[in-house]
Symmetry: C2
Subunit: 896 residues, 2 copies
């Protein structure tokens, strides 16, 4: 202990701010959290920030490392900081006549909206409340503040359910027939406070703490504890935030937005977070505390006149109500955006006409807004094009790449709410987050419908296709979180009535039950009955422009995994530069062909097999012709038959009979062949190159189809594709060579027959650990490598993707795996094999072309890794091509 104590006492834990300066800076987020760092930065900029101090994230880490004990020295540093706050604020903490009140808030490195607990008005007790009453001249305000503090503190710090206080309040109002809290007088609040305190003593066994220092330590501990609360853990998991980052705690002098009609509180963005348009965008409430806006209990007013008019609101704008304060606010916002060079999301309070800035941070935005802001800011010269490209989260593009409502489709609109998060979604109505999660696990699409959402609903919002609330504004919890998740959201659809008990949603005579389908359009705020048809998104404007910038910075190629003409066309429209993986077996499942495929499989003689293959040849050739025409002049990587043959055969008894009849075969013969082909571990069985070695005539048929199709397309269009024939599941060079030899022979034959020589190559998938290890040898013979990271992940981990569901959820939730390795490439393990494979391959063949064609090819983190190992291209599903283009550009830029 001795040594660590000495070290601890020398360490700085507390950083003061306010009164025109601060000990922290914006770039100290890791230490001070986002909120603390930005409060310090604003103080340094000379903006009006209530004085306060930040307890660093290191204290949080030390707290958990040391069995929830605080480091030595913290106490003294805090007392000193509190004294400074008292000096600036001109009040003293715990002094009855002139009490300093503080807020205690969490502030992690990354913004975690609504996830951490906050306590306001701390420092109030039976004595100081009188001082507050006296100094504010508003007794009712003082006791209202005290009762808010008691219920908030008791809920967050002491674990007394907030609803119990609401019950007391509700009962009281019912007794008096009061409609609003504002009907309650100071004296009545006093009486209620006595009942609140009795409740606390009854529930906890102790009186409500009267010592402000005890209150302060209690609140600070509650913040640190909430870092490991279930809500925070869920949010961290969903957002890949490491547990060891910890949170800071901000203690700050209170300012009051609820001191009458010259007071207000609000939140604002420097640009529209939904569309990206450059306009002051925000909401405020007169005579309210900050939490009232976010909570969505009262419907807030617009800040600017323009917004008010657009929204056709009757409530006056801040611009109209307090023109001077509005002007100061506008100036402050401009200053902050120029200073931070990004769109800001701010909280402010106006106390009796004086503006106080409580927070600024980089504003969350929709993908559409992000594109617009990045492109606009580059045009404004605020940032460069490189930075514009780096600003867009590639994964967020997903929002723009999926269908929107077909304007031609019939819509039965039953209500209209706020367009809180863009995009359209259809699904079953569910009223409960847990149920949303449960149904999602069954692959059902749901819309989560709530009066309002709270952090407890996060997992259900994550599971839902979209979110619909009947209360709350554009900055309500539901709206903010949905935008963050890129999910459609309609909020504040006030005409809808929800009955949780009955499981119904009703509006003007329409009654919808749990399980019925609705559609929401987060771009218009419309709520529709049933499922509404959608159309493909158009990729133009900001999107197209930013993508051209991205392409100019990108080193790696981007191809698509596609086997149908539809997929291939989509891929081309999205900018794919070829096909990185065409799985030929998908072409075999077509109902016309499966008969011939099955004939081939049950054939016990080479001749019969060849006869069946001869039937397949023209069909395969036509498949390739269609693809090659779309990809004329581009490389098309075609994987030869990969799955074990039993995948093509029926399994159930009645199917066997049916198929046997169809094929004109004896059902017993068929059954025997099925039994013969059954495998214990098909993933590790007789498939890929192993199959092609056993049945070389299959590879020959496919090679012939490929080369004949390429020749045909070259002849027709004058532009030959570049077929890249790919041998799957190779573990050794010798295996590859056996098949390569056959493919080369067929290529020569076709060239001779047609008199046309096509440029082509023959390569292999690297999808087994051994292939990666023996890459030097394999590359002597293979023209290219394509890393099949799906199977490589399966074999490197020894995990079958089909069977992983049973435990991989548990693994990620328990933190055993940081993430699901089938979603984001396991860089440490599988990634090392990709690196080894690439390096060794290029040892023997320096120009070896390498790519990735697993699902990871569309995952930004995995793409960044591919850049570090210098792959030539990534290949992903058509709809992820733009994501991959952007991610690849960012990877190039980050590497420089």
């Amino acid at each position: 202990m001795g040594n660590s104590d000495m070290a601890a006492s020398a360490q700085k834990f507390v950083y003061a701010f306010g009164g025109g300066s601060a000990e922290g800076r914006a770039d100290m987020k890791a230490l001070l959290g986002g909120k603390g760092a930005n409060l310090a930065e604003m103080a340094n900029l000379g903006l009006p920030v209530p004085p306060g101090f930040t307890i660093s994230t290191e204290v949080c880490t030390a707290y958990y490392a040391n069995e929830k004990n605080y480091p030595e020295g913290l106490d003294a540093q805090m007392s000193e900081a509190l004294r400074q706050v008292e000096t600036v604020a001109g009040a003293r903490f715990g002094e009855a006549s002139n009490p300093l009140l503080v807020s205690v808030r969490s502030g992690a490195r990354a913004s975690m909206p609504g996830m951490m607990d906050t306590v306001l008005n701390l420092g109030l007790n039976d004595q100081t409340v009188e001082g507050l009453a006296q100094r504010s001249g508003d007794r009712r305000f003082a006791f209202d503040s005290y009762r808010r503090f008691i219920s908030m503190y008791s809920d967050v710090v002491l674990g007394v359910d907030h609803a119990d206080f609401e019950d007391i309040l509700g009962g009281f109002k019912d007794e008096r027939s009061y409609a609003l809290d504002t009907d309650i007088t100071a004296e009545e609040w006093q009486g209620l406070i006595a009942r609140y305190k009795a409740l606390v003593e009854n529930e906890t066994g102790d009186a409500f703490p009267q010592d402000p220092h005890e209150q302060l330590w209690g609140a600070i501990s509650a913040v640190f504890k909430s870092w490991n609360g279930a809500r925070a853990i869920t949010y961290r998991k969903l957002n890949s935030i490491p547990e060891d980052w910890g949170t800071a705690v901000n203690v700050q002098a209170m300012v009051f937005g609820n001191m009458g009609d010259t007071s207000a509180t609000g939140v604002a963005f420097t640009r529209n977070p939904s569309t990206g348009i450059k306009e002051l965008y925000g909401e405020f409430l007169v005579n309210a505390q900050g939490e009232d806006v976010v909570a969505g209990i009262r419907t807030p007013q617009n800040i600017t006149e323009r917004a008010r008019i657009e929204a056709a609101s009757d409530a006056p704008s801040l611009e109209a109500l307090m023109p001077e304060t509005f002007a100061e606010l506008s100036r402050t916002f401009d200053l902050l955006e120029r200073h931070y060079r990004d769109m800001q999301d701010m909280e402010f309070t106006i106390q009796e006409g004086k503006l106080w800035m409580l927070q600024t941070r980089i504003g969350k935005r929709t993908a559409k807004a992000a594109l617009r802001i990045a492109v606009d800011m580059a045009a404004e010269g605020l940032i460069g094009r490189e930075e514009a490209v780096l600003r867009i989260d590639p994964a967020s593009l997903d929002q723009l790449l999926h269908p929107t409502l077909d304007p031609e489709a019939k819509r039965e609109v039953i209500a209209t709410g706020l367009p809180a998060s863009p995009g359209a979604a259809s699904g079953e109505i569910v009223f409960d987050a847990d149920e949303a999660e449960r149904l999602k696990a069954l692959n059902r699409r749901v819309i989560l419908v709530r009066i309002e959402t709270s952090p407890e609903d996060i997992h259900g919002m994550h599971a839902a296709e979209g979110i619909l609330t009947t209360r709350g504004g554009m900055t309500s919890h539901a709206a903010v979180v949905a935008r963050g998740m890129g999910k459609p959201c309609v909020s504040g659809a006030g005409s809808l009535r929800i009955d949780y008990q009955a499981g119904t949603l009703s509006v003007m005579g329409v009654l919808l039950k749990k399980g019925e389908t609705i559609t929401i359009d987060g771009s218009s705020g419309q709520v529709m009955r049933g499922e509404v048809a959608t159309i493909k998104p158009e990729l133009s404007g900001d999107f197209a422009l930013l993508m051209t910038w991205a392409d100019s910075f990108r080193r790696m190629g981007v191809r698509a995994n596609a086997e149908t003409p539809l997929d291939a066309r989509t891929a081309r429209e999205f900018g794919a530069e070829g096909i990185g993986l065409c799985r030929t077996e998908h072409m075999f499942f077509d109902s016309e062909r499966i008969v011939a495929v099955r004939e081939m499989i049950i054939a016990d003689k080479l001749d019969a097999r060849r006869a069946a293959l001869a039937k397949l040849l023209p069909m395969q050739r036509n498949d390739f012709i269609a693809l090659f025409e779309i990809m004329a002049g581009l490389p098309v990587t075609i994987r030869l038959l990969d799955p074990p043959l039993h995948e093509f055969l029926p399994q159930a008894d009645h199917e066997i009979e049916e198929v046997a009849e169809q094929m004109n075969a004896n059902p017993d013969t068929l059954r025997a062949r099925i039994a013969e082909l059954k495998e214990f571990n098909p993933m590790l069985g007789h498939r890929g190159v192993r199959l092609l070695i056993s049945y070389p005539e299959i590879a020959e048929m496919q090679a012939r189809a490929i080369f004949e199709a390429a020749t045909e397309v070259a002849r027709r269009t004058g532009q030959a594709p570049i077929p890249e024939v790919m041998v799957p599941l190779v573990a050794s060079r010798a295996e590859f060579d056996v098949v390569k030899e056959r493919v080369l022979a067929i290529a020569s034959q076709v060239a001779e027959e047609t008199g046309l020589v096509i440029d082509y190559s023959v390569g292999t998938m690297i999808e087994l650990p051994r292939a990666a290890l023996r890459a030097a040898e394999i590359a002597e013979s293979a023209d290219f490598f394509s890393f099949g990271t799906n199977d490589l992940t399966q074999t490197t981990f020894g995990i079958s993707r089909d069977d992983a569901a049973r435990f991989i959820g548990e693994y990620t939730s328990k933190g055993v795996f940081k993430m699901d390795p089938f979603i984001s490439l396991d860089i440490e393990g599988v990634g090392e094999l990709v690196r080894i494979g690439t390096e060794r391959g290029r040892q023997t063949k320096p120009g070896l072309k390498t790519g990735i064609c697993g699902e990871h090819g569309g995952d930004p983190a995995s793409i960044a890794f591919c850049e570090t190992v210098n792959l030539d291209y990534v290949s992903c599903s058509p709809f992820r091509v733009p994501i991959a283009r952007l991610a690849a550009a960012q990877a190039s830029l980050s590497k420089i």
Copy 2:
């Protein structure tokens, strides 16, 4: 072509020997083949070797590399060498009056008995046969030689079936009622020769070649071609001889053992190849050519008087017949053994009283003989103990480690033949090599019963448990090959009559049919009806002594894979130094326990699972007590539950009903649980550490059983075992840590409860590629690594061992894989992961204990690899422990 021609003409292809000197040496086997190198060596030693020359293996390689064309320059070098032979032999090749005759034989680097073709008496034609008749003064001998040459040459070089010549000869003898070939006169042979030549012309379309040079080239080409004949390929595959070694060709002046009663031919060993006893051991035939002895057509005579008396033979020994030649032979044999420092296997011919040495080589021997010879030679000072240890093929010990006939058991002996290869075997009678192979594939044990065997039977001999022939001596094909394979063989059991057609074996009124079981004892020569009981081998004498030498040179420890007391005891007797792998799940299949196991599996609540586990605890504890008592003071590595739970559940519908009743459970519940647990790829599924993380109570029960048992044994015996708790299927440190924590907690609990602290460790299997790659991290937490190379091979190759049968045979037979990686460790791929795992593990934990516990732990080649990467121990099945001890010693010695 130009360059390679120039290189070729400068290269030496032909190496002469004879007349007291040679161009080659014994250490040039790679170039000259074994036979050629040893002929050269003998010539250099001044021994009587007929002059000749060797065409090097490089010619064979060039021949195959260059589309079966010979390198430039070979012709000239051969002509020159032939001139030298003519000079020494005093005769001229093709000269009618004084013709030089030669033999042409193959000679590969490794001895391949009976696999390659030989042509004798080459150089004879219608003219030279007259010269031979004149110079030998024996017209009959000359024409007999000519007809032998025609049939042999036509068979081997021209592809005319040998049986067609035999038909002509047989028909002729029948016509004249001749019993023996010796009844035929010179003139009659002349007539037969005309018919032989007519047959050749008829079959091939060409006259039999009369030009000796054409004959010579034809024979040489036949030798080279036979290198890639089916027989040779099979032999190479069985003996891991690389294809690219090639064969040399030896052309040597003929000497004749068939020039009357002062001529003879024989084969001999310097020590008894069956027992190892130091005694001249061999056979000869008077008035015969070399091939006659090996072919086993005439029953040969003993060389020494002692052997003749022991065999109770009437035929005189060479010692008695030709005492002077015998003395020279004895001296020569002694000289050769001292010179080569190993037991020699020699061929000689006596031509009219003059001894000629035709071959010497290291003699094949049984494992028993090898041990005796090695120990004796070390005692004689001929070799050191290190060399004695290195001389024994570890795999050959297998012969000694398996049961022999119980002397107490009842035997119904139906015949006695020669004790040609020791060991006892029982099995079904089969008469055909193909059928032997077919039945073996169905896991049936067979005895291959043949009149005599030929190289075409090799695959059947390989498949059989033992071989029985009715013709042929101790050096017949069957005897030599069986000894090489370490399979029991009784040869020359002449009282047995075989009817291939009827599929019967009969002797004195006893008739056995195909499929009936017999037992053969290759140590006594007995053939018994039915199956005879066997007993465990005793490991004493030479064996025990050599093993103590081996142990003194060995660095790596040797442990056994064992879970039953029987296995553990066997392992200790065979010298295991602990248990390297105790698979606890095997203990769960016991009929008494499986009910509790199944209760645990279908339990859907933790409580119910714990209740079922509580029933298993005392049983598991007793299992461990039994093992620990046997292994007192030694390390015992216990693997926690590994297989997926569905392995413990019934599959067929009637079984499910039955089991449900047994367990007092609802069959539908059971069925539902079975369906729930079904996996697509169980090998990659919910097993190993994944199961232990899902059901930590299983690990806790097992840990408790282990520690309680260890404490109990420590208390009872005063000698605690050293439990090493092993977590299977770990891919990351985090997984390991979850289970380790539980095990540590239980260890502390048990120590507290019992007041006894046991020394133990917790480690992991490295059986997934990722575990090997992340070994540095895992070793921070794990006390030891045990490489599970079975699963590591499965995942590295992506091959399921259970499903590999479908293609792995094809792979090895086509040469795609050099060997089955489940039998011998794939050093290039899987081995690299073992190396990486060990190196990285020791980076973070320098003293990390590492071992191997896959099947490879008993494979000598794999053990040699383990030494190179510095593993601490190998663990194998109990019966392979001595093999592993010896292989480990050899690996240590080879490393120095």
